[in-house]
């Protein structure tokens, strides 16, 4: 199974294990978007640690997921972008908002927790 989707609290955590074809990327994106709606998830965390290429198509697909998730009240955080992949992505001229990034799962959870606290206090 090239993508595993788990649930932790009211977050969805999806981990991409292998290099995906474009169709698989779109299917993955749509599935996650559906689940966000179904489960009223507050955030989606996508772990791309295993990927050694993230091209503009995948980047845009993740962004589109983030936009859809936002519409359903959820944040989207990408974790695990490797240094060489980050360098490659920096060559594109991409606007990825509202997509967020964090180093790893722990950092993502810290970010999300902080956002929740602020939302409550704000």
């Amino acid at each position: 199974m090239s993508v595993a989707i788990l649930r932790q609290r009211d977050y969805l955590i999806a981990s991409i294990q292998t290099d995906l074809t474009d169709s698989e990327i779109l299917a993955f994106r749509d599935e996650l978007a559906d689940r966000v709606g179904e489960r009223r998830a507050r955030a989606v965390i996508v772990d791309v640690t295993a990927l050694d290429v993230i091209d503009s198509f995948l980047a845009r697909s993740l962004r589109s997921l983030a936009i859809t998730a936002r519409l359903r009240g959820a944040e989207t955080v990408i974790v695990g972008i490797q240094p060489d992949v980050a360098i490659a992505m920096a060559h594109f001229d991409l606007n990825l908002a509202p997509l967020r990034t964090a180093l790893d799962l722990d950092e993502a959870l810290a970010v999300l927790d902080r956002l929740r606290t602020e939302a409550t206090n704000g």
């Binding site: 908002a97 967020r100 180093l103 970010v111 956002l115």
Partner: protein, 301 residues
């Protein structure tokens, strides 16, 4: 990876079938006379003033291992064990200062000692001597090459490691407090060095789980469009790994030049000097209001 394939394992050292029995006779002879041949070899090494950095005990111990490996390699036709031993030996003696000519020298001396001993032993039968040498020479030469090449390979590996270490040292990424890294850049920045810096910084972000990096360019000799582009990319790459970047030390004059060149400085958060940058970074860490929302122009939100 080179144009021609380098295969140390060929041509095979085994002679044609008829000479296999000769090879066995040769190997048996070398084993039976092991003690005196080894001693003769050590004498020749000492006379030639090789391996002076090693004590007599060390020389004897290594000499024994080389001799035995040498004879085994002659017998089996396989140089793998010898190669492994040669690499191991090289790893040990290179830091001691043993040089290439010494290693080649001692292997060739062994070859000579054995060859002469064969001459003496088989001198009564010129024909047999000839055939024994036919068996011995290609194998012995192959062994000399193997040991020499292993040594040189090891030296090159060490040089490369040292080069790497120097590179690392010359651009330290400093951790000043938890989650905060500083990268002071000093000197000329060409494309290669800029790329190296970026890789080092990103590696440090990963290793230290940094959330903020302060990149100080006060000491950078010349900031042109190319350098600026590298900085912009570095900032973006850092954000993709969850770290915010602050550039410090960019004079307003330089900033203006870059803007004129069309560099989008909105891509970077800049502060006048390092001190100011550090304070900004501390504030950011203490009162983080958000995660790193990645926009195309890298602004924090």
């Amino acid at each position: 990876m080179t144009k021609e394939e380098t295969q140390l394992s060929e041509p095979p050292m085994q002679a044609p079938a008829a000479d296999i029995s000769l090879l066995h006779e040769l190997v048996d002879y070398l084993r039976q006379n092991r003690t005196e041949l080894r001693e003769e070899w050590v004498r020749r090494i000492t006379d030639a003033q090789l391996l002076r950095v090693m004590t007599p005990e060390e020389i004897f111990s290594e000499v024994t291992a080389v001799y035995d490996n040498y004879v085994d390699a002659l017998e089996t036709g396989s140089i793998e064990t010898l190669q492994a031993y040669a690499r191991d030996l090289s790893e040990r003696i290179i830091p001691r200062g043993v040089e290439t000519h010494e290693v080649l020298g001692i292997v060739l001396l062994l070859r000579d000692v054995l060859a002469r001993s064969l001459f003496v032993n088989y001198q009564h039968d010129a024909d047999l001597l000839g055939r024994i040498l036919d068996s011995y020479e290609p194998a012995a030469n192959r062994i000399a090459v193997t040991v020499g090449v292993s040594f040189v390979d090891e030296r090159e590996r060490v040089i490369r490691e040292q080069q790497e270490a120097i590179r690392e040292l010359s651009t330290p990424v400093l951790q000043v407090r938890d989650r905060l890294l500083i990268l002071p850049i000093i000197g000329m920045l060409d494309a290669q060095r800029a790329r190296q810096l970026t890789e080092q910084l990103l590696g440090a972000i990963q290793a230290n789980r940094a959330r903020v990096v302060v990149i100080d360019v006060t000491g950078v000799a010349a900031i042109d469009g190319g350098v600026a582009n590298h900085l912009v990319q570095t900032v973006e790459a850092a954000r993709l790994m969850g770290a915010s970047a602050i550039i410090t030390g960019l004079s307003s004059k330089t900033a203006q030049t870059l803007v004129d060149l069309g560099v989008d400085l909105a891509m970077m958060k800049t502060v006048g000097d390092l001190q100011g940058g550090l304070e900004e970074a501390e504030r950011f860490l203490d009162h983080r209001t958000d995660g790193t929302e990645v926009t195309g122009n890298g602004q924090q939100s």
